[in-house]
């Protein structure tokens, strides 16, 4: 046998660099599912959990402490893979999306306004070197809407001294109207697995898929029953179908004759628009954006500028951090029509 053929390069992958928080993985799975146009196969997503300062140090180790000044080209997949799997290093050329998502974490003892700004200024293109999305004060900010629309989001801030994980998460939990809908598939999966004893992941996945694709209220119980009857015990079937029906009704997607995914797509579109307005508020002191001007406004946003303003407003313990989620901008960056359509 000849050995002319190389192994072949695996490409068209997505690198998602996060802090390893399960919720972030949920968020992106949801985004990829709600916006299938992004065409990211979840199996081709490589999730790397780290902290922004650890990542910064990894870059320094490879390219030197003056990498930002030298204008070196940073190959993040190379940096990450060299650390994780030195025998099988990857390259930027293998990834079509490099998404870096970190919390602002003003409270972090390693916090460095300069380092974080270096990163924000360099990582500006998802399809090239990668793009850094910093969430203020943390990832949960995408759920921090009390209503839809929520005009008060314009001035929503957190005191710099209280911008820690425990405090902010509790506050979001208390105020959000988004969390219930976001968590619906996870809760449903738990119900199917732990209470209805569907241990086979594939079977569970199929049930979940069919339930989340229900869009009408009429005959809902019958539809749920037909989905579950062959996979759950008869003794729990009746309870299960009413419980799931109630969950669906509470989530609200069938009221609008939508599947769960279409419903969530609409919610995410609203979340992105709220955050474009909020970013505009921080950068240009203008929250309201004329309909039809969102794209123009989005293209003028500068994440380094916003970061500098956040650094400034939160530098004293009496200061504040504007609540802002930028990682949902990934969708608008990919194709703005996904937000308007």
């Amino acid at each position: 046998m000849n050995n002319y053929v190389n192994g072949g390069r695996r490409r068209n992958r997505t690198l998602l660099i996060v802090e390893g928080n399960h919720e972030k993985n949920i968020l992106f799975s949801l985004l990829f599912k709600c916006f299938p146009e992004i065409s990211v196969d979840i199996n081709d997503v490589w999730i790397y959990g780290t902290n922004i300062y650890v990542l910064y140090n990894d870059i320094v180790k490879e390219y030197g402490s003056d990498w930002a000044q030298k204008g070196d080209e940073i190959d993040l997949p190379f940096v990450v893979s060299k650390k994780l799997q030195p025998d099988d290093v990857c390259s930027q050329r293998d990834f079509t999306n490099i998404i870096i998502v970190f919390d602002y974490e003003r409270q972090d003892p390693n916090f460095s306004a300069e380092k974080i700004l270096d990163m924000q200024k360099y990582f500006i293109d998802v399809a090239d070197m990668g793009k850094l999305y910093i969430n203020y004060p943390m990832i949960e900010s995408y759920q921090h809407l009390r209503s839809l629309p929520d005009a008060d989001y314009a001035e929503r801030k957190v005191p710099a001294s209280f911008a820690n994980e425990k405090f902010y998460k509790a506050r979001v939990r208390n105020e959000t109207i988004i969390a219930g809908a976001v968590e619906f598939p996870v809760r449903l999966n738990d119900l199917l697995e732990k209470h209805l004893n569907i241990s086979d992941e594939q079977v569970r996945g199929r049930c979940l898929e069919r339930i989340t694709n229900i869009s009408e209220e009429c005959n809902m119980e019958e539809i749920i029953q037909s989905i579950l009857e062959d996979v759950v015990e008869v003794s729990v079937l009746k309870t299960a179908k009413y419980q799931i029906r109630n969950w669906i009704l509470r989530c609200g997607f069938t009221q609008e004759h939508h599947t769960y995914w279409i419903y969530m797509r609409d919610i995410f579109q609203q979340i992105v628009r709220h955050n474009i307005q909020k970013a505009n508020r921080i950068q240009n002191n203008q929250y309201w954006i004329e309909e039809g001007k969102y794209k123009e406004c989005f293209e003028k946003l500068s994440l380094p500028d916003i970061l500098e303003r956040q650094n400034l407003s939160s530098q004293d313990s009496s200061g504040y951090i504007w609540v802002l989620n930028t990682c949902v901008f990934f969708v608008a960056d990919y194709n703005f029509a996904l937000i308007t359509g």
């Binding site: 490409r11 992004i38 065409s39 050329r93 293109d125 990919y334 194709n335």
Partner: protein, 384 residues
């Protein structure tokens, strides 16, 4: 200008492949790739053996149809080997001012036409079926050709049939019409003929086979004119080949081109492949096709340094703003919005599909995107 070209069942293109020059996006950069709303500078990429050269041959096929001078070219297999269809179908849509002219025909082989049709602004001017011998010529009045004697054309065809084996394509009606009728200069038929006359295909690899005497004497004669040698020298210098040239007439009357480094060094024996390729390009474009309407430059930068390849594109854009130029290349360095744009960069796939980068992804391609990196990392792999 050529607005759309379609071909089917020709060589490796079993299914219909379409080049739609009017399918432009609203990019506000590299606007010099667009002329009068149509793509005028196009760069095609594709893996080896996807048919880039065949596509050029397909586009140039109309030259065989309409030119009296051209004999059919023996390009090997003509029809697609996997298809059961008996003819290759060609369709050219032109836009001349406000008029849309569609000329289509199908060929059973290099020599045999199956049918031919001309449509102007939606009106079928004529239609010929060479297999059945039927035709529809009722609307010739729309092009001022109502007085032509169709019988004479029929006689011409019969004469052609008798002289089989001459290697000539049987006489297409449009070619006969152009040669017979005194059309006004602004006639769409004349514009079509003029456009086709000025179409050219250049293959860079031919430069490798250019020998010492390969440059025609007429080119040397042209270089003798005041300023012309300086123009060639300037062209080579702009492209990054720093040199001085001298043209000398030898005792036997023939001319010889030299590099002039104080001492004269014969050009062809010593020029690099890249420099020879540049000279071939210069000779074909600058002298033979000064007023080209359409140029297909196959693997145009096969011997060029990446900067030279960029320079050639910039030169072509500046020198031929109105000319429709299609370049094929493997040089991904040229896949940049600095030079081109996503609606003018195409991928030819092994399946015979031709897709502009902007249509090969759902991602909104912006000026700042690094298209080369995206291509290499597989952003457009579904269309490769």
């Amino acid at each position: 200008m050529l607005k759309k070209f379609e071909v089917e069942n020709y060589k490796n293109f079993k299914e219909r492949i379409c080049l739609d020059f009017s399918n432009t996006a609203e990019y506000q950069f590299s606007t010099d790739c667009i002329t009068d709303g149509l793509i005028s500078k196009m760069l095609i990429y594709g893996r080896n053996a996807t048919g880039k050269t065949n596509l050029g041959n397909a586009l140039m096929n109309i030259c065989e149809i309409l030119s009296y001078k051209m004999r059919y070219s023996d390009e090997g297999a003509f029809l697609n080997a996997n298809s059961e269809a008996d003819a290759a179908v060609f369709s050219y849509t032109f836009q001349f001012d406000e008029k849309e002219v569609i000329y289509s025909y199908s060929r059973l082989s290099n020599q045999e036409l199956r049918d031919e049709k001309l449509i102007i602004d939606g009106i079928t001017i004529f239609q010929c079926d060479f297999v059945s011998g039927n035709g529809n010529f009722e609307n010739l009045k729309y092009i001022g050709a109502e007085t032509v004697h169709i019988e004479r054309y029929m006689q011409s065809i019969e004469t052609e049939e008798k002289s089989e084996g001459t290697g000539k394509l049987e006489l297409p009606f449009l070619r006969w019409l152009i040669g017979t009728v005194a059309f006004k200069n602004d006639s769409p038929v004349i514009k079509l003929a003029d456009y086709v006359n000025r179409m050219v295909k250049i293959t860079a690899s031919h430069a490798l086979f250019v020998g010492t005497r390969a440059l025609s004497e007429s080119f040397y004669v042209l270089l003798e004119k005041p300023g012309e040698l300086g123009n060639l020298e300037e062209f080579l210098n702009i492209m990054g080949v720093e040199c001085r040239l001298t043209l000398r007439k030898l005792p036997d009357g023939q001319r010889q081109l030299y590099f002039d480094y104080g001492k004269l060094i014969p050009f062809y024996e010593n020029a690099s492949s890249g420099t020879k390729a540049l000279l071939v390009l210069y000779r074909r474009l600058i002298t033979v096709m000064r007023d080209a309407s359409f140029v297909y430059l196959d693997e145009f930068d096969a011997f060029y340094h990446y900067e030279m390849a960029e320079n050639v594109i910039i030169f072509l854009k500046n020198k031929y703003p109105k000319c429709q130029i299609i370049l094929t290349s493997h040089n991904t360095n040229l896949m940049t919005n600095r030079l081109m744009r996503p609606d003018c960069l195409f991928i030819l796939s092994g399946q015979g599909t031709l897709t502009a980068l902007c249509n090969a992804t759902r991602r909104e391609l912006r000026e700042g995107h690094n298209l080369e990196k995206m291509y290499i990392s597989g952003e457009f792999e579904r269309y490769e």
